[in-house]
Structure formats: C-alpha cells, structure tokens
Symmetry: C2
Amino acid sequence: MTETVSTQIQLVRRPQGWPVHEDFRTEKVDLGELAPGQVRVANAFLSVDPYMRSRMNDAKSYIPPFALGETMTGGAVGRVVESAAEGLPAGTVVLHQYGWRDLVQEDAAGFTAVPEIPGVPLSLHLGILGMTGMTGYVGLTAIAGMKPGDTVFVSGAAGAVGTAAGQIAKLLGAGRVIGSAGSPEKVRLLTEKYGYDAAFNYKDAPVREQLKAFAPDGVDVFFDNVGGDHLEAALDVMNRDGRIAVCGAISLYNSTEKTPGPDNLAKIIQQSLTIKGFTLGGYLHLREEFGARMTEWFGQGKIAYDETIVDGVEKSVDAFLDMMRGKNTGKMVVRV
Amino acid sequence: MTETVSTQIQLVRRPQGWPVHEDFRTEKVDLGELAPGQVRVANAFLSVDPYMRSRMNDAKSYIPPFALGETMTGGAVGRVVESAAEGLPAGTVVLHQYGWRDLVQEDAAGFTAVPEIPGVPLSLHLGILGMTGMTGYVGLTAIAGMKPGDTVFVSGAAGAVGTAAGQIAKLLGAGRVIGSAGSPEKVRLLTEKYGYDAAFNYKDAPVREQLKAFAPDGVDVFFDNVGGDHLEAALDVMNRDGRIAVCGAISLYNSTEKTPGPDNLAKIIQQSLTIKGFTLGGYLHLREEFGARMTEWFGQGKIAYDETIVDGVEKSVDAFLDMMRGKNTGKMVVRV
C-alpha cells in the first residue's frame, strides 16, 4: 500500500481583514484503506485564488463559506496512486476541488481525468489551460460580449486571470488592450510578453488620471479584477453601451471597514452601461468551446504564461497571502 | 392667420445644484408665416421629466446638453392649427420634442400624428401611453428580463415611471412587487391604486432596514429611479442572478458634491448580478410591442394612472422643480 498519511491545511478561525497564520492549522490525517469506488490521488499542484478570501467569511455568497475545522478546498491537479474504481486507474492525471492537502482519497466521481500533454506542466491545468484561462475567456465573451475593434481595459492585469484576459482579448480581435498592475516589472511584462498595447502602474498616480491618458478614445469593455478606484476610473471613460465584466474585487476582499463605492455611478445611465458580475460556475457549458480555442492558440505558440511556484503544501497559506498582496506574476500555485 | 406669437422658456445659465428661476427666461417670439412643408402646432400639454436635469449640465451624456439661450426641448402634445404640409392637416393631434413653448412652428417631419381616442386625455400620450409607460415596460422586459414569479422592487414608485412599472410588473406576472415613496399618501396609493403588494416610506427609516423587512425572500428585479441609498439597500437583498434596471438616479441629479456609491458592490460578484443603465432611445424598436400591449391593458381597464397638472407654459420651471422634489403623484405635465 502507498503512503496514506495526508498533510492538510484547515481553516480554524474566520479572518478579520488580512488572514494570519493563526486562522489556519496543519493536520496530518491517516486516510486508511480505499473503500470500493474510491481513488487515492497524490497532488502535484494546488491552486490559490482570490475568490478563496470571500469564502473564508461567513457571508451569503455564490458558494457556501469554507467550513471551520475542515480542510481548505480548491482546485488541484494530481495523479492517481491507488485505485479501487473502474475508469480511473493508477497513473491517471486528475483535476479536482479537494484543495490544500498533499494526498486525497475520495469517491472517483469527485475527480476529472485530464489528458497528459508531453512538455506541458500539469500546473497549467490550474492556470491558463484551466479555470483561470477560462475565466478570462468567459468574462470577455459571454459576459462582456467583446467585439473586434473594442478597446479593452483589464485591471490587475499581471495576475493569473489578467494575463490570460489580455492575450485572449487580442486574439479575439480587440483594437487596443490596456492593463494596470502594481510594479514597473509587471507593467513591462504586460506590454513585452502579454501583448498589452499599453499598461500603467496604479501606484504611480491616481488610476483616474492614468486611465484617461491611456484611453483617449474611451473604453468599450472593462474586465475588472480589482474594483474600488479602478472601477471608478473606468466609469469615467466608458463609451456608450460599454460593458463591465466584474470578475473580482481584490481591493475589497481584506477590508474590514465598509468601503464607499464609486462617486460616478450616474454614468451607468448616461452611457447605458452594463455591469455584470460572474463566477465560472454558471458558465461551465462553455468549457468545451474554451478548451478547443485555447488548445489551438496554445499549440500555435500564441499563449504566454507565467507561474509563481511555491514549494510545499504547508506553505499554502503563505502562497495565498503573497498572491493577495500581488507578489505573484501570472498564476500562483503550490507545488506539493 | 392664427396667432403667431409663441411664449417660450429658455435656459440661459447652467444650474449649480438645484435649478433656480434665474437660470431661465421667458421669451415671446413671433413665428411669422409658415414656410412650405411647415406646420404650426398649438401645444396642449408639455412634459417635465427627471432626465432634463442632466441635460441642463454641460456634460457628456447620451444626448447633448440643452443649448444656452435656446428654448427648452422635451416631449409635448398638441394640435396642428395651420398647415403648409401634406399629411398633417389642421386639427391633427401630434407628438413632438419641441418642448417648453405654447406654439411651435417647424417642418412637418418633426411631428408624429397620434390617434385621438374618445375619452382619453391628450396628456396621457406624454405619460402612461407614451414614453413614461414605455420606460417602465422596456426596463422590466428588455433590460431586466423580468420573469413571472419574480420579486420586483421599484424605487421612486409613485413617480410617473414608477406607477407604470409596478402595474406592468404585476400584469407581466411578477410574484411580489414592492415600492418605495416619500410620503404616507403616496405609499397608500401604491398598494391601494397601483397594485403594489407592499410599499414603504423611505423617510421613515433607513431604506436598508425597510427593504430587508419587506423582501424577506430577496429581490430578483430592481427597477431603480433613485440610486444612492436605494441602490445600496437593493444590493444587500438581491437574489442570485438578480437584475437591476437603472432608469434614473434622482437622488444624484441636483447634488453639487461627489456622492460616494454603495459600500456593497462586492455583491455584484457574490450574487452574479447584472446592472444595466438604459434610456429609451436605444429601444424605440419596441414601441409597437409596447403600444399593442398597453392599448390592450388600458382598454380592459387594467391601468390606473395619476397626473399632476400645472397650468400655464410660464409655470414650466415650477412644474419641473416640483416634480424633482417629488410633489407630483404620477406624471407631471404642464397644461398650456
């Protein structure tokens, strides 16, 4: 029998503002023998994502909050090491949502086999080839109805979703793609590696001023990962019938005080804007469409990506916090 | 020849905050003889509407600002008194956008003939049978995609658009329709005359508290005429995939300071909400559909309406200000 002791990160207290290590604990759990129909999976990579911060709160949301005293769930990719289920033999690469643990043992129904592509790291199934890339694709297409020639602004553009969104926008024919990020290095990456036509450092000057200068003809589609001052700045310059896909509001996630919204919401009427919040859950029917297009682009070498890799399941909390603070470029993953 | 001197209200200064009489002047203009193709129309009723406040500012919007030194334009209904145009003989009832004047003389192309319905006052073409009623219809259908069974909240529900929207929501099969208004009399009218299932006075207690109590199962569609605290309260209680049709933001129109937006915009993501601003201009193709349904409902006696009528074209500014302050119930019109 293979190893059965699983190291797991559990949430034990709901964070106030920024999460701290004391909000979590590391547990070792002996999984015992496989029951019929179960598989045991050794995780290769775990995903840490901004949406997880919302789930740490005990608030009504699109998915229930993380349970206290239980292991943090989330996207992960690994390999079946022992199987008592037909269809998922040992060696199969699988995606799942069992999250922050090195070893997971559950019914086979909780895992999805993914093809192993030679030369492509498994971690990409958590990033550009997986939910992260699909979030960019869905936000631009199904949510914002991006049309060729549109000017697109992406906030938090150097993050995992942002780097995907910018490239996909260009591949879908956007006229001009503008991104914001939080350091000169990231700003440079956006234009040099990710095909952004222009990018700025939101710490250099008020977003309102910078965006106005970078989008002299206005913005048709705003893909928002940040909220706050970025949303306010975008509302100022949105063109008539503009569309805002609200993917994230990282500026608000760790705020303990109520943060007032933009002072220019009247633009919603004046410019007939549509603001639409989304999470991927409602758009899983587009998985095949996304997969087909992304595979084609990826195969043609048209997709760039970065990963920030942190080693060790016990470093999951650090990886999550670094990602929330913007220390990553591209997708942040934990290598088990 | 009939009377040719037209009394007109002109905008001479851009208001700061609440408009004052000094921002306008009353001019008498001799229209002279009809040119070929022109008609002269004696207005019966003029419309005063919230959107006009935005147009008094010199700001980018969906329609250009009112020109200084020129006569206020806007919806009006009248009768042709002299005609030099084929197709619009004297006696024809016409709708037009030439606004705040008793007599107007322009090319026939600027006027639309409307059928005279026995027993139906001409003013209704400016209200429930016209743009006002259509705004309610379009907001609920094309913008918010209201479905039978939906819980609908209408802010500023005793206004012209609000009284239309509430009734139309019920006729389209809404499960529960809740309205807010600014006086006990208006609140009573909403439930007793306009078919609202529940209504509250927003001056009685914070909207956030009241709406939560009146919508224990949440809100699916919010038809917003007010913005500000009403939008914030609605965001708190919107159900998943809820839709907000932003028709007006009367709370902001006369504000000279920047007003911060709602502190709970994260709900847009958490509940996958869609917020869509609109003006009727983009939906004129629905005029026939609206006309057919409204005529049917009206003929069946299913449509209630109120009008607040102010007499005299020179009282147009007073009528406009009273409407902005909520002194009207239902549609506010000026009788010439």
